[in-house]
């Protein structure tokens, strides 16, 4: 992969990340330098803000005389999240579980909020099929029963969840084939989407099937925007574990685009700082998200993740959010949780407004952003009481940060804190529990950088015998994970296993282990 190869496909990459307040975009050159960056307000329809941020960085390229030689555009977006939260644009899903007579005590979607279930479900059935933990069939697959169920529903897509499919997927595959051949409907199969834990995996599979239309809209909007700007770049979407997938892949697994923001900001922080083991604080306008980088990847949460009131077993970054941001309102004896949010540039004292914010308190304490020269003078002469209030606010904020860092650091004090986000200047020069505070350049757009530099990945979660055949079986699982990474867009010659977790299982006839493998690699050129 010489520079020649880069030149042939374009030298630039654009990363775009849609956040709650702002949509950020960056352009990286072939040497991974930031050559353009922009922040635009996130719009209610998401697409508007995305187009504005993209247009802004392209205009900056034009101004600097850099050709629009863009090979790839990577997008981390909240389209899917918003669709679920607002029950908007969701497809009707035929929900099929294979496992009867097992599992009937808790039918599909039992724990869904009524309004989401009404918006999504075209009908639910628990039919014979699925497997035991040891791979035996619970019952044979009844294809006619599947047909009878599908004949009786009006659906845009089908979601199929088989008991123990992460270990034995053949029934799910057979149904997917039947649906595609005979009904021509898109199908979500649970073994491609989640890990063990039937109800959580089923929920994610149904959400995935409901989001096919939304995924089409996102990829359509992105393709349209690229065409409008005369770009021939290949588009990618960011997913919740900090890796990328092609738009074709995203069209099949739209649910994994949910929650990509925190992962992008963690990966961007690792890239910009050059530190791969660190605590990361992303300070925004309203809140600060803390996460942990281990070997350059986000540490994942052990707890189940809820999306729109539905429990799923996604592996998401372990994030601790605290109510502290640049727009956090300061009162006599309290800091936040209220915030002026995106109105900070009108309301904060340093911007000529009349609300005392954390930005003002930080500036008074001599903490100013790189572009904040002269801000301190704007605060003018104030009473001693007022200066006291600001000092107390800074002390309180520093204590909040120290407490949050301590919660996330798991007792290790040898790693630095990487400060990113538009409000990173709020953080003190020294924080207890970390070896130092790193403030990389371009930290305010770390999330968009994270999208631009992300790898493609694949993962497998299954159960294997613990005996002599174990090592061979694990090799096969590694190959499967690598194949999935390649399917998501990774370069097959540079895929590596980045995570391997083995957990022994108890109370089984044959000793067995649960194995989780993740493979990742740079995008194929």
């Amino acid at each position: 992969m010489g520079d020649e190869a880069r030149g042939a496909r374009g030298a630039l990459r654009i990363g775009i990340d849609v956040g709650g307040t702002n949509t950020d975009a960056v352009v990286l050159d072939a040497a991974d330098r930031v050559v353009a960056k922009a922040k635009r307000p996130t719009t209610p329809d998401v697409t508007g803000g995305l187009l504005a941020a993209l247009g802004a960085v392209l205009a900056e390229l034009d101004r600097s005389g850099t050709p629009r030689d863009v090979a790839r555009v990577m997008l981390g977006t909240t389209h899917a999240t918003n669709a679920v939260l607002e029950r908007r644009g969701l497809g009707r899903v035929a929900v099929l579980r294979l496992g009867a007579p097992a599992t009937t005590s808790v039918p599909p979607l039992s724990d869904w909020p009524g309004s989401l279930r009404a918006a999504v479900s075209a009908g639910e059935a628990v039919l014979p099929g699925g497997h035991y933990v040891d791979g035996r069939e619970i019952g044979p697959l009844d294809r006619d029963a599947v047909r009878r169920f599908l004949d009786g529903v009006e659906a845009d897509a089908v979601a199929v969840t088989g008991v123990f499919s992460p270990a034995t997927a053949e029934h799910e595959r057979a149904v997917a084939e039947l649906v595609a051949d005979e009904y021509g409907l898109p199908v979500s199969v649970s073994h491609e989407i989640g890990s063990l834990g039937l109800l959580e995996r089923e929920n994610a599979t149904v959400l995935n099937a409901a989001l096919y239309g939304v995924a089409g809209n996102v990829t359509g909007a992105l393709a349209g925007a690229l065409a409008e700007h005369g770009l021939t770049a290949t588009p990618y979407l960011a997913q919740n574990d900090g890796t990328l997938m092609t738009t074709e892949h995203a069209a099949r697994l739209p649910v994994s685009t949910i929650g990509s923001g925190p992962a992008n900001s963690l990966r961007g922080a690792a890239f910009l700082s050059g530190v791969s083991d660190a605590v990361v604080a992303d300070v925004g306008g309203t809140s600060t998200d803390l996460g942990v980088l281990t070997g350059g990847f986000p540490r994942e949460s052990a707890a189940a993740v809820e999306i729109g009131g539905v429990l799923t077993n996604f592996r998401m970054p372990d994030i601790l959010a605290i109510a502290l941001g640049g727009g956090t309102v300061v009162r006599d004896h309290a800091v936040g949780p209220a915030s002026v949010g995106y109105r900070i540039t009108e309301e904060a004292l340093v911007f000529g407004g009349s609300t005392v914010t954390m930005t003002d308190a930080a500036v008074a304490a001599g903490r100013v952003p790189p572009d904040g020269e002269g801000w301190r003078d704007r605060l003018g002469d104030r009473s001693e009481g007022f200066r006291d209030t600001l000092e107390r606010a800074v002390a309180a904020a520093d204590a909040m940060v120290a407490d949050a860092v301590d919660r996330m650091a798991l007792g290790r004090a040898d790693r630095p804190l990487v400060a990113v986000g538009g409000g990173a200047f709020l953080l003190p020069p020294r924080v207890p529990g970390v070896s130092g505070v790193v403030r990389p350049r371009h930290a305010e757009v770390a999330n968009a950088v994270g999208a631009a530099i992300a790898l493609a990945s694949g993962r497998v979660d299954t159960i294997l015998p613990a005996g002599e055949s174990r090592s061979k079986a694990i090799e096969r699982v590694k190959e499967e994970a690598a194949a999935r990474a390649v399917a998501a867009g990774a370069d097959s010659s540079r895929v590596e296993i980045v995570d391997l977790l083995e957990v022994p299982l108890s109370y089984l006839s044959e000793p067995a282990v649960r194995v989780h493998v993740k493979a990742a690699g740079p995008l194929a050129r």
Partner: protein, 356 residues
């Protein structure tokens, strides 16, 4: 009183608190309970005194591997087949369902099983908390013979075991469970109402409900929970370390809590073995099994299972007295500190607190 769908959340919270860190996740059982009440109607909660002397009470529990129970959930017909087998053996149908273990998953799932059978739930259980082994039940302590086990699996099989003693009961039931895919429903010690008197721990469903409701909407959830339980607060602080090791088929471990606020400078260590078993601070024991020790989130007072303990959590450890049955010589022999391998003479938590 009848258990309604709206009671299930409080019951599940209470069962988690009585689970002393173990007993399994209450979520799936709570979903099954709500669904069964909606489908089959509310579940009457009856006292032993409400039942005729020869009425049959079925203690039910799910057994198997936790990983399997989260994937291959119970079928809806499993309780019915056990009830049919009981009728075949005894010549009359059961009159009530009982939870074998009020702490954790097996405390809330019996609501679903009772609803599916159209039977009332007995306001009692066999532990008053959670324990890891099958023989650690009040029926065993009371000297009832372990001579009948009925199991029902997802495929529809029913297995009746007539073991010669508790050891065989455990050994055979485990073998059947493994063959059935490592997950089954089990009836153990089928009782008459007369036989159950003194052999079960009464009032525990009502207690779990009250414990769960105490924190609901409370301004001070921790204070409300402590008051409802009559619990001693062992420490409030931060989880500083959790060490886990697998030994003898059970996960053992030690959790360390560093005191904060008024407890600053104190350190509590907690010995774990599926459940929280022994609490120590400053070289002194503060509470030990079979008294109940539960770690809760300091802010919400929600119980935290031993497998979910993580560094940095802000927690409070609470301890309170067990049922008097566990303090008898046979009770302590069955589930006292020595039954778990700790070379300790049992001292009730209230005496330990009085000397603190």
């Amino acid at each position: 009183m009848k258990i309604q769908a709206s009671d299930v959340a409080a019951l599940a919270r209470g069962c988690a608190v009585l689970g002393t860190g173990g007993g399994g996740d209450v979520r799936t059982g709570a979903l099954a309970a709500r669904r069964a009440i909606q489908e089959y109607g509310e579940v009457p909660l009856v006292r032993l005194a409400d039942l005729p002397g020869d009425a049959l009470v079925v203690p039910l529990s799910g057994i198997g591997a936790p990983t399997v129970s989260h994937e291959m959930i119970h079928g809806e017909d499993e309780p019915r087949r056990i009830a049919e087998e009981i009728e075949r053996i005894f010549g009359r149908p059961p009159s009530a369902v009982m939870s074998s273990e009020i702490g954790g998953a097996n405390g809330v799932a019996p609501v679903a099983w009772a609803a599916q059978l159209g039977l009332p739930l007995l306001d009692a259980d066999g532990m008053g908390r959670a324990f890891p082994e099958v023989q650690m039940v009040s029926m065993y302590v009371a000297g009832l013979p372990a001579d009948l086990v009925i199991m029902s699996d997802v495929a529809g099989n029913v297995v009746t075991i007539r073991p010669v003693d508790g050891l065989w009961s455990e050994r055979l039931a485990r073998a059947v469970c493994v063959a059935a895919g490592s997950h089954a429903l089990m009836a153990d010690y089928v009782l008459t109402a007369d036989g159950a008197r003194g052999a079960v721990i009464e009032g525990t469903v009502t207690r779990a409900l009250a414990v769960g409701r105490a924190t609901d909407g409370a301004a001070d959830p921790l204070g409300a929970l402590r008051g409802e339980l009559g619990a001693y607060e062992l420490i409030t602080g931060k989880l500083a370390d959790v060490e886990r090791r697998t030994a003898g088929g059970f996960v053992r471990g030690t959790a360390t809590v560093e005191g904060t606020g008024a407890d600053r400078g104190r350190v509590l260590t907690l010995e774990l073995q599926n459940e929280n078993l022994v609490a120590m601070a400053g070289g002194r024991i503060l509470a030990m099994v079979p008294d109940l020790i539960t770690v809760v989130d300091t802010e919400t007072a929600a119980a935290i299972q031993t497998e979910s303990l993580r560094y940095g959590q802000r927690v409070t450890a609470l301890a309170w007295p067990c049922d008097p049955l566990w303090r008898t010589p046979k009770g302590l022999e069955t589930a006292g500190p020595r039954a778990f391998g700790y070379d300790l003479d049992y001292v009730p938590v209230e005496e330990l607190a009085a000397h603190g």
